[in-house]
């Protein structure tokens, strides 16, 4: 476990870096995609953030989950749009489960060095019922076909880690960008700060990293990692949207006083602070429970998925409201929090699935 002081230092270093390299308005975001690569390598060279969880033997800093979540919070607070979340939150935990494999170790080292953007493309993550791409073992080596409906940072990738169906067993395939038969198609999104793309695979040559139980483990790690990272981003989004709003109500005057002096506004902000604290607790609880028995671990993760997304969206929505008309303009960045918050929220919990996960697992806990 990192100390409170180390945690603070990591948070501040991350904050300085990502805020300096993240555009502040919607227009800037649209123009910024080209700068992403420079930011990515700079982040690795100057701060080593991609290797926050990667063991020192592979060139990383080998910190713990708590430290990684601090970084994701700051990425969320800054609305960082690069591929950090899928690579560090999702791909790294999956590759760490395969660290006995030479290819996985090489990928971890390249991620840590900032030379490779390894992006998971898991059909299930975006659409729980989506059929995964199909892996076929032909004479010329394995190939993969199918569509992953939406991939976060899909176009920025140097390749995709694709959970696939290999004759009824799960396989984890690596498809480098540029492979014949692999194409991405950018999608229109409400989140203006982060790109999504559909990944279309048609008989694309693939490297199989794992099959069966090992592939399942890697995929579970991917899913858990993504959920925790998104939830942490939500905490950062919520905290930043609240900060912005508190600062605004301290200067905006109506009826001869700052609006933050009205109890109607003060109490609303106090409620939002309690909402933020509940999201922080939900995240801490889930992070602390990753090593617990499956019913407790899964229920705790579902708590974070529900609470953190809902808290970020509620606070971002109220942030717009408390900014008044200026909050509804394109140029003010508060809507960017609203857009990111809702996107993260639906990725974390849609269709009531997480409530079902909690109810089922808790009933099992009580019965056990």
């Amino acid at each position: 476990m990192i100390s409170a002081e180390e945690s603070r230092a990591l948070r501040e270093a991350t904050r300085r870096f990502v805020r300096a390299s993240t555009p502040q308005s919607a227009d800037d975001h649209e123009a910024a995609a080209a700068a992403d690569r420079r930011t990515w390598t700079g982040m690795a060279r100057r701060l080593g953030l991609q290797g926050v969880r990667v063991p020192e033997e592979f060139g990383g800093t080998g910190l713990d989950l708590e430290a990684e979540l601090v970084v994701h919070e700051e990425m969320g607070g800054a609305l960082h749009g690069g591929p950090f979340l899928p690579v560090v939150g999702q791909a790294v935990p999956a590759l760490l489960t395969l660290a006995g494999d030479e290819r996985a170790r090489t990928m971890l080292a390249e991620i840590t060095a900032g030379t490779s953007v390894v992006v998971p493309a898991d059909a299930r993550w975006y659409e729980p019922d989506a059929a995964p791409p199909v892996l076929s073992d032909g004479a010329g080596g394995p190939t993969i076909s199918g569509v992953v409906p939406a991939v976060m940072a899909g176009t920025a990738a140097d390749g995709w880690l694709v959970p696939a169906d290999a004759g009824g067993r799960t396989a984890l395939a690596w498809v480098p960008a540029g492979t014949a038969g692999a194409a991405t198609e950018p999608m229109t999104t409400i989140d203006l700060t982060r790109g999504f793309a559909a990944l279309r695979l048609q008989d694309a040559a693939a490297v199989v990293l794992a099959r069966g139980a090992a592939a399942e483990r890697a995929r579970d790690a991917m899913e858990t990692g993504a959920a925790l990272a998104l939830a942490a981003e939500c905490v950062g989004i919520a905290a930043e949207a609240l900060d912005l709003t508190v600062a605004y109500v301290k200067v905006r005057e109506q009826f001869g006083q700052v609006i933050g002096a009205f109890q109607g506004v003060k109490h609303q902000l106090a409620d939002l602070y309690v909402t933020l604290e509940s999201a922080r607790s939900a995240l801490a609880f889930a992070a602390r429970s990753v090593g617990e028995s499956p019913p407790l671990r899964d229920a705790a993760l579902a708590v974070a998925r529900r609470r953190c997304g809902a808290a970020a969206f509620r606070i971002a929505g109220e942030a717009i409201h408390l900014h008044g008309g200026i909050g509804f303009t394109w140029e003010h960045r508060v809507h960017l929090y609203y857009r990111r918050a809702k996107t993260n929220q639906v990725l974390l919990d849609s269709g009531g699935g997480q409530a079902r996960t909690i109810a089922t697992n808790v009933a099992a806990l009580y019965a056990g």
């Binding site: 003060k266 309690v274 604290e277 607790s281 229920a299 579902a302 009933a363």
Partner: protein
């Protein structure tokens, strides 16, 4: 048990010690035996009459043994009967205590969590020595004498007076909402010693002997039907100056120490207010078949979620700086949780919440329905807690206060203009 070792036990050692003490005396707390026996949802409040006296007697016997074993006041100074260990040790012992079916010691809550800390922080050497061991041994039950009919949320407007008379003071006035005053030997009193216009600057804190002539305690029946708080009339009550806590007119910071501990207490999930409510909700939904309803399943999910979040927040608050006002955050969370549990039970029970059909574990939820409103008021209302968060955490302007004569006034907006 002696406490002479300066090295002191490790956390594991103190836990083992607590286990040894408890295992020899009481059974392990089994997961609530749902379906038979008492079905109380609220931690049962003290009742009047013989039942209450028996409960207090059992609590006092228990507390004496715990004290003798050095397990009552883990982080208190040795010279006043404490064990001299750390807060971490205390939390560990409390965690162990929760694993056992120990007697209900709610009658000591005010002494241990509110009056005791105020005496320790602000009392004289003599006061600490005279009261703290007794409070922790269970000999002295305490109450607060703070709120008045005319001074609720605006405590600084209180009017009960203490006037100098010879070497001591004479107190007159009326206090209200004093939990356990009918059992208490010692009351922590706030009384006006200065000009009422000076508001919080003219208040002094005293320790009042509840058996003194002129102290008249009358029970108040609550909406739950229980009588655990009281109104207290103070009619020419003589209080020696040695019973004053802190400086004359310096009672306000002492009241704040007390109020802060009360808030944390109200927000603490382990305060015994509720009896495993979430586990009971799951059992209720299962026994009635309501758990097949997706809406009920969602309510059950949120109930558990809320319980874990308030616990995690309590855990985080141990490491948080005081400026975080986590007591206020916890209190707001837990009062809202209580109302949520009522709403979930209502959805499952329907009319069986309102009319007792005699089925185990059904009508008992009306205890929570009737008890919940109190907790949004006690220990600082929701609105007061929100003001505390808005002003002290978020740095928003303070609410306007009445001007104090003879002092230059600073307006709220002038003080707060611009980003903090």
């Amino acid at each position: 048990m002696t406490t002479t070792s300066t090295a002191g036990p490790t956390l594991d050692e103190i836990a083992a010690e607590a286990h040894a003490f408890l295992a020899a005396r009481v059974p392990r707390r089994a997961p609530a035996n749902l379906g038979a026996g008492p079905d109380d949802v609220m931690g049962v409040g003290l009742r009047r009459g013989d039942a209450e006296l028996a409960e207090v007697e059992a609590a006092q016997t228990w507390q004496r043994d715990l004290f003798a074993a050095g397990l009552a006041w883990i982080d208190g100074p040795v010279e006043y009967g404490g064990r001299g260990l750390t807060e971490a040790h205390r939390n560990r012992v409390h965690a162990v205590l929760r694993e056992y079916d120990v007697p209900n010691t709610a009658c000591f809550m005010v002494g241990h969590d509110i009056v005791g800390p105020a005496i320790l922080a602000h009392g004289t050497e003599e006061q600490r020595a005279a009261y703290l061991p007794g409070i922790w041994r269970g000999d002295i039950i305490c109450c607060q004498l703070f709120s008045e009919p005319g001074a609720g949320s605006d405590l600084a407007s209180l009017r009960t007076s203490a006037r100098r008379a010879g070497d001591g003071w004479v107190v007159n006035g009326q206090k209200v909402w004093s939990s356990y005053a009918h059992l208490a030997q010692l009351g922590e009193l706030l009384a006006r010693t200065g000009d009422p216009a000076d508001r919080h600057r003219g208040i002094t804190a005293f320790l009042v002997d509840m058996d003194a002539p002129g102290v008249d305690v009358r029970p108040l029946r609550q909406i739950t039907g229980a009588e655990h708080f009281n109104e207290v009339f103070l009619d020419d009550v003589a209080v020696p100056d040695a019973q004053r806590i802190g400086e004359v007119d310096g009672g306000w910071p002492i009241a704040l120490t007390t109020l802060t501990s009360e808030r944390s207490l109200m927000g603490d999930e382990h305060n015994g207010l509720m009896n495993d409510p979430v586990r009971r909700l799951y059992a209720l939904a299962e026994s009635t078949g309501a758990d097949a309803d997706p809406v009920v399943r969602e309510l059950l999910a949120e109930a558990w979620e809320r319980e874990q979040i308030v616990r995690e927040t309590a855990r985080r608050s141990l490491a948080a700086p005081a400026e975080d006002q986590s007591g206020s955050v916890l209190k707001l969370m837990s009062t809202a949780d209580m109302e949520f549990y009522v709403a979930a039970a209502t959805r499952i029970l329907g009319p069986r919440l309102a009319v007792d059909h005699g089925t185990w574990g059904t009508f008992a939820w009306s205890q929570l329905l009737l008890g919940a409103p109190a907790h949004r008021i006690a220990g600082g209302s929701d609105e007061i807690q929100k003001n505390i968060i808005a002003e002290r955490v978020l740095g928003l302007p303070r609410d306007p206060r009445p001007p104090i004569p003879g002092r230059s006034t600073t307006t709220t907006t002038q003080r707060s203009r611009g980003p903090a």
